[in-house]
């Protein structure tokens, strides 16, 4: 009897193992297929249509139907908008994280933490819509412009979008710094500010780096909100007040028009592949940052 039950348990366990393993295998295969598909189509422009990768990366001439696939304006637009988002949202987010972790009374911190986590989940179209109805007209008024959309608007919207992520993760990174370091620093006659800047932030640096890199990943991949406020003009970003275009927004704008199998379509695939490579690079950076911690 015992033997029968044991062997039944054994069989059930075997079945569960097979099910789990096939699920995992399916998942891995699906991911591999997606990556392979993107890599194949994303490089087709170069080996299929014999378009120069250098012209794609550094050319500014974009005419999908005319055979000009210089994506530099979009790459630059993405980089500048993301850079602004990080320049604003990074320090601000870390500062607010420091506030919640080190300075705010416990009651305030526990009340605001869930609120910030809700902000992470707000759909991006909401941010874009708010940017379009509030921020874009405000920029137009302040700078006396006919239109307020452009890189400044996109940078600000993106910085607000990444704030919750940066705040929440940098706060977490600071909270895991052992209290003994706070006490040790204070016991040497350090002020709270000195303890924060000289001990806590350096101790939490890898976690904060991860917070900022995830912010970069979110900003560079953001599509809808950027598209709504960026103005979508394929020109090099020479001024923050001028409209521009980003990799993500341009793919969305053009993907309906580009005929299947055309160089145009392949150029859009190449842009998507480039975004994939960038986010893979960012994940690699996060791994490095986390490795450094141990």
């Amino acid at each position: 009897m015992v033997g029968v039950r044991a062997s039944k348990a054994h069989r059930d366990e075997g079945i569960a193992l097979v099910v789990l393993m096939s699920c995992s295998a399916l998942f891995v295969i699906a991911i591999a297929l997606i990556l392979g598909f993107l890599a194949f189509n994303g490089t087709r422009l170069f080996w299929g249509d014999h378009y120069s990768p250098l012209k794609f990366l550094f050319g500014t001439d974009w005419d999908g139907f005319g055979g000009h696939y210089g994506a530099a304006t979009f790459i630059a637009g993405s980089l500048v908008a993301t850079g602004m988002a990080i320049a604003i949202g990074g320090p601000l987010g870390v500062a607010i994280g420091v506030f919640f972790s080190e300075l705010a009374p416990k009651r305030v911190a526990t009340a605001f933490k869930p609120a910030i986590e809700v902000l992470v989940g707000i759909p991006s179209v909401v941010y874009g819509w708010l940017g379009l109805t509030l921020l874009v007209p405000a920029i137009a008024t302040v700078f006396h412009l006919p239109d307020g959309d452009g890189l400044l608007a996109a940078g600000i919207v993106l910085s607000i979008m990444i704030l919750p992520t940066v705040i929440s993760l940098s706060e977490d990174a600071l909270r895991v710094v052992p209290n003994s370091l706070r006490e040790g620093s204070a016991a040497l006659g350090a002020t709270r500010w000195e303890t924060i800047t000289k001990v806590l932030l350096p101790s939490a640096s890898s976690g904060i780096a991860v917070a900022v890199i995830l912010g970069v990943a979110r900003a560079i991949g953001e599509t809808l909100a950027v598209q709504l406020v960026l103005g979508n003009a394929a020109i090099l970003p020479t001024s923050l007040l001028k409209p521009a275009a980003a990799l993500t927004s341009e793919i969305v704008m053009d993907m309906g028009d580009a005929p299947d199998g055309s160089g145009f379509k392949h150029a859009l695939f190449a842009m998507a592949f480039l975004l994939l490579l960038i986010s893979m690079g960012l994940i690699l950076l996060i791994r490095l940052a986390l490795r450094r911690r141990t």
Binding site: K106, P178, S180, L181, R182, E183, G184, S185, A186, A187, L188, G189, A190, T191, E194, K198, V199, P202, S203
Partner: protein, 262 residues
Amino acid sequence: MIQSQPAAAPALADKMKIENLDIFYGTFQAMKRANLSVPDRHVMALIGPSGCGKSTFLRALNRMHDLTPGARVEGKVTLDGVDIYAPSIDPVTVRHRIGMVFQRPNPFPKSIFENVVYGAKIHGEKNPKRLAEIAEKSLRAAALWDEVKDRLSRSALDLSGGQQQRLCIARVLAVEPEVILMDEPASALDPIATSKIEDLIGELKRDYTVIIVTHSMQQAARISDFTSFFLLGELIEVGTTSDIFTRPRDKRTEDYITGRYG
């Protein structure tokens, strides 16, 4: 004749004086009406069973409770006659003058050198040559120099526990405090590291006033000039260490001392 009595011998100048000290965690009173005088350049040991409030008492002496939410300190603690809890006093200056070594070594995740000069840098020393001198002097005083002089730029976290604790002592010495508080500084260490720290404390009292919590009565007997005995949130008895261990006046002190070794 020095008798076992609450205050130290009259000939000695008091470095710190604690009067009617009450300490609360929320509504729980962890220290009741404690009175103690600590003479300059001597070692005062605080002993008593676990949970009797030794750490609680010690942390009141450099305003460490300011960092603990819910902790409240009432009464008077003076350093050279000045009340360190007076509204006009900046707790940061208090902690500059009264250093603290914790039960568990807590080096910063920085290099050995950066750990030692941390306090000196904070208090305005920028000259690299001076900082190097301070580092060497403090590490020598903490009996660590010979072991680390070739690897000052290595992470302090790579040191052994005993070395880390001596580094934490060096770090305190580098800010040149007047009083050093130690909360069971050797409790996480092996006998060899412990005896190094004990030797060190013997050296320290030439320049510093040391107040040390210890669980080991032999240790208190070896290193301290005065001993105070705590029980259940009360300071029961203070006296010279030899009096406390040979002729305690209070029955409870005697029970504690003989209970362990009788």
